[in-house]
Symmetry: C2
Subunit: 359 residues, 2 copies
């Protein structure tokens, strides 16, 4: 219910009885629950939902409140799409690629191997066809989505042994997030699905050979450098992971136009703020990790080339059998081609020059 | 006045007389005027202020309206700082470096030669000390600032003749924006200050030898490629020009907490949206320009090296004589160093790989 109709429904008698302002507030309150796919310990990525909630409260002067619940509190981390679809919660904050098992198209809204970088993903979402196409797709799940954070290009993960070439991926038990495992498999690797809290022990015991998580700031907390010192880059499967706010369609439709604008603006504020947080926090974490013995290594050229080739083959196969994928990926791929054409000139040349200076 | 106090002031009698909702609206209305430094023809950069205004209206359900006025409508393009400082208008949208003549520190809030790229500038603003330090500085001008758009790395401009090395800059009459002219001068160039609408004719007649404007999308409209075909990159003096919303301190202080949050969220929405617009529109403009005869050229290595050297010398000199500069630049430079350390690993490697593929 919006503020105007609340006033109308409360009626003048109610306003007089309760005192004008409090009556307006009580009557028009919107209360939502948001299920995050992340634990509270990830202040960056979990924090995005808290920033969203805080901005909604400020923008509505408390008329609209969103309570934020960590993974497992209301439902499992990977139960949030079902939760929003069924209306168990009004909203969720998650990484779309977790749900590629339902439909691979989910992954495009988060990150796919050799996809867009953070800024390009924002461009596709806000000014390309990204938001429009993903919303058409999400409608099947009763979801209205909003960009709500990006991690930037992630690191390629921690290896117990060095990777000298594609051959070293054969049989490599690699804890890797969701969709990227499909490409790793095609290169002979063995993707492992292990929750964040159990990775350290698995690496230490040698149950797994490698694990990727996010980037220096988040990784440092889990201490992987102590048991798997080779820290690879780039995370070619997440050149810019966009996080999404999912809103249940009915809950969204029930909002006043003002509250709809509040959801969009609060999510967009969290979107900017989250990328800024990662960028501001990663450099000193990287320095500390290297100081503590982490050994930075680029993926060998043949690993990158083979991963790219296998990814493009996978995308072709998906386009042949999944109509949703075909439609969204077709537009995404065209946009990616244009973005890389443009970025290679002034953006890349400026960045490369700056990175080569002693600053 | 905020909504609650408006209700209180209107009194129950007023509410009864006018009908609840309209009375609330009429009483609590906030009306602002915003002076842009840009002409309406720049739908990108002028458009940022329109997006801001639209979001303020939506977020407040029309209780808060900002009218947007193009450069020259209320005051000259470069009169907007005085306008906000004196309270002639409540707000302005501008490129901070225009005002380096008042104090060079203004430039840091927009772009300085060899500064931060777009994403790094957001990180400094939202999660570094950027906003805090710039607000301390702007307080002297009765200004509260908000990030409100970024152009991304700009192009290096249009030259009638090729630049083969530093020697070719000697005596070069180059239309270049504000602060960067100080570096060009040290390299023998002759910076020219010419409004956008007069550049084409000056280039055609040979009154000037070169001109920089923004990037492909904005430049294309002015047709420079027809009279100065060599299109240089990168625009080392604006690796990411951040635009600012300036708000008069008193006008800001008079806002309710809710309206303060609305100003911040609306500006931040315009911030994301403007960069996305540039990224989405530049690629096809670049292709069309090249198709129409524009010749893309990187600045020679010795030009880049000398420009960098002269810029760092200038910053040292400014630090010795301008306390404001010293304080803000000191923090900015430390942040830049950390950002470039971090970006050179996973971000740059991912981007470089993608730019090298046939996509």
């Amino acid at each position: 219910m919006d503020r105007r109709s609340a006033l109308r429904h409360a009626g003048i008698a109610g306003v007089l009885a309760a005192g004008a302002a409090p009556a307006v507030h009580a009557q028009s309150a919107v209360r939502w629950r948001l299920a995050s796919s992340f634990p509270k310990s990830l202040d960056t990525i979990y924090g995005a939902a808290e920033v969203f909630s805080q901005k909604v409260r400020q923008l509505s002067n408390g008329r609209f409140e969103v309570s934020v619940h960590a993974a497992g509190e209301l439902m499992p981390a990977f139960g949030v799409v079902d939760g929003v679809q069924q209306g168990t919660v009004e909203a969720a904050h998650t990484a779309p690629y977790y749900f590629f098992g339902k439909d691979e198209t989910f992954a495009i809204g988060g990150a796919i191997p050799f996809g867009l970088n953070s800024r390009q993903m924002s461009a596709w979402t806000f000014e390309g066809n990204g938001l429009k196409l993903m919303r058409e797709f999400y409608a099947k799940y009763n979801i209205v989505n909003f960009a709500c954070g990006n991690t930037g290009a992630q690191m390629g993960g921690w290896m117990r042994k060095e990777i000298k070439g594609v051959a070293d991926l054969k049989g490599l038990k690699f804890r890797i997030g969701g969709f990227a495992g499909k490409v790793l498999e095609r290169m002979g690797g063995v993707p492992q699905n292990i929750p964040g809290g159990e990775i350290y022990q698995a690496l230490e015991k040698g149950t797994i050979d490698a694990a990727e998580w996010i980037g220096p700031y988040d990784d440092q907390k889990l201490g992987f450098h102590k048991v798997a010192p080779f820290y690879y880059y780039p995370g070619w499967w997440e050149g810019g992971l966009q996080l999404d706010l999912y809103v249940n369609q009915k809950a969204y439709d029930a909002l006043s136009p003002e509250n709809k604008a509040i959801v969009e603006a609060a999510a967009t504020f969290a979107h900017v703020e989250t990328q800024a947080k990662y960028d501001a926090k990663n450099p000193s974490a990287l320095k500390q990790l290297v100081g503590a013995g982490a050994k930075l290594r680029p993926f060998p050229a043949d690993v990158m080339a083979e991963a790219f080739k296998q990814s493009m083959k996978l995308y072709e196969e998906l386009s042949a059998k999944n109509e949703n994928w075909k439609k969204v990926y077709g537009d995404f791929a065209k946009f990616r081609s244009d973005q890389n054409l443009w970025f290679r000139f002034t953006e890349a040349t400026f960045d490369r020059f700056m990175q080569a200076q002693k600053l």
